[in-house]
Assembly symmetry: C2
Homo-oligomer: 223 residues x 2
Amino acid sequence: MSRTIAPDGELPTGGSSSRSAGGTATASGDARQERPTRPSDARERILGAATRLFYAHGMRAVGVDLIIAESQVAKATFYRHFPSKDDLVIAYLDRVDAAWTGQLHAAAKAAGPEPADQLVGLFDALATACRTEGYRGCGFINAAAESQPGTAAHERTVAHKSAIRSWVRDLAVEAGATDADKLATALTLLLDGALSAGALDPDPRAVDVARATARHLVDEACG
Amino acid sequence: MSRTIAPDGELPTGGSSSRSAGGTATASGDARQERPTRPSDARERILGAATRLFYAHGMRAVGVDLIIAESQVAKATFYRHFPSKDDLVIAYLDRVDAAWTGQLHAAAKAAGPEPADQLVGLFDALATACRTEGYRGCGFINAAAESQPGTAAHERTVAHKSAIRSWVRDLAVEAGATDADKLATALTLLLDGALSAGALDPDPRAVDVARATARHLVDEACG
DNA sequence: GCGCTGGTAGACAGACCGGTCTGTTAGCAT
DNA sequence: ATGCTAACAGACCGGTCTGTCTACCAGCGC
């Protein structure tokens, strides 16, 4: 079961937590670690480390001590910003929600002005996500696997999936689909399946098939 | 995060671990618990409890102490049968594999002699699974969410998904599909998506849509 | 100067984790 | 009777978990 996780350098996402946001990066080059005494970004560092670690290893597998070490923050600071680990978990899920929803919207927009094309364009976001190093499936589905139906984490997952489906349905209505509900459901099923397959199937053609199938379903429903 | 799990009675799967297999159930009715002194089924009790608990709560959330308590077994007995928790986890996954593969095969068989109908029949197994109380999605996808790419648990998941897809492809070949690979991939994507949606989407129509879409894809590919 | 805010370091508590160990008992074959 | 096997009960170990607490420090507005 291997309950512990090495404190650093084993993550597939690569680069050192992206901590150069504010500019003027403590230019005096003598110190070893140059921990940013720049105030008020402690919360951001915590959430950034938690996002990376929770996604890569699972929420339960990552302890607060590791997050604290990775974000270079004092324990009291951690608990000032997030009164409990659960609060951090839901902040993490909110961030995943915003990120994935944003990528989906961007991919739809990039696919052109036609709603029918935008419905297919969603699968470009999928392809991009699956290709990124350290891809480990849908963060929400993974979170649901680690939480119980009554909990806040689980309900965020349900709400997220529902919001995506509702947005896809609106797009399907715009595209003039004969049965927008059915088309939206089929597309989101395909999307969720590919989201899992992208992490489990070594063959990357699965996402191509997902996209092609989506194209086919959309063309057929929108005449 | 609520790390602990109540020792009994909170599981959605219902009934008291099905421990009346061997007949002659210690008919002397004086004792309270009637733990089966019937020899050699200790391993089965452990694996049964683990299967129920791992699926319901996640592998990481369930400690060996709880499994030991639920299966009414001594700790030494537990570790005699399963040298480590990891061994139990893979035994659990093997059991889930056998169960789900069996249900899929049975549903295909029940759908009739035509391979094309059998491909659609898979989705009957899905519908049945999603309707059962305590359904929590695909045990393998959930397991993958709790394990790392290199580990045995993760590789069992990959192997399981690969085996299912390969079997579906054989069925698609038998059915005379124009592109059996593509059809099999599309169907398994749909299946995996619906497996997740069945646990997350309160609306049960998603599985109907999955089945209808499968019917459509099969009809089209097999002319 | 003074207090407030937001940060640092780290000891500590109490529960739980996987796993080992000692010792006991029942059934059964020799 | 003896010895083997498989089960039992449960104390114990080192380590990890979340969360609390004390103590100190830097900047800033008053």
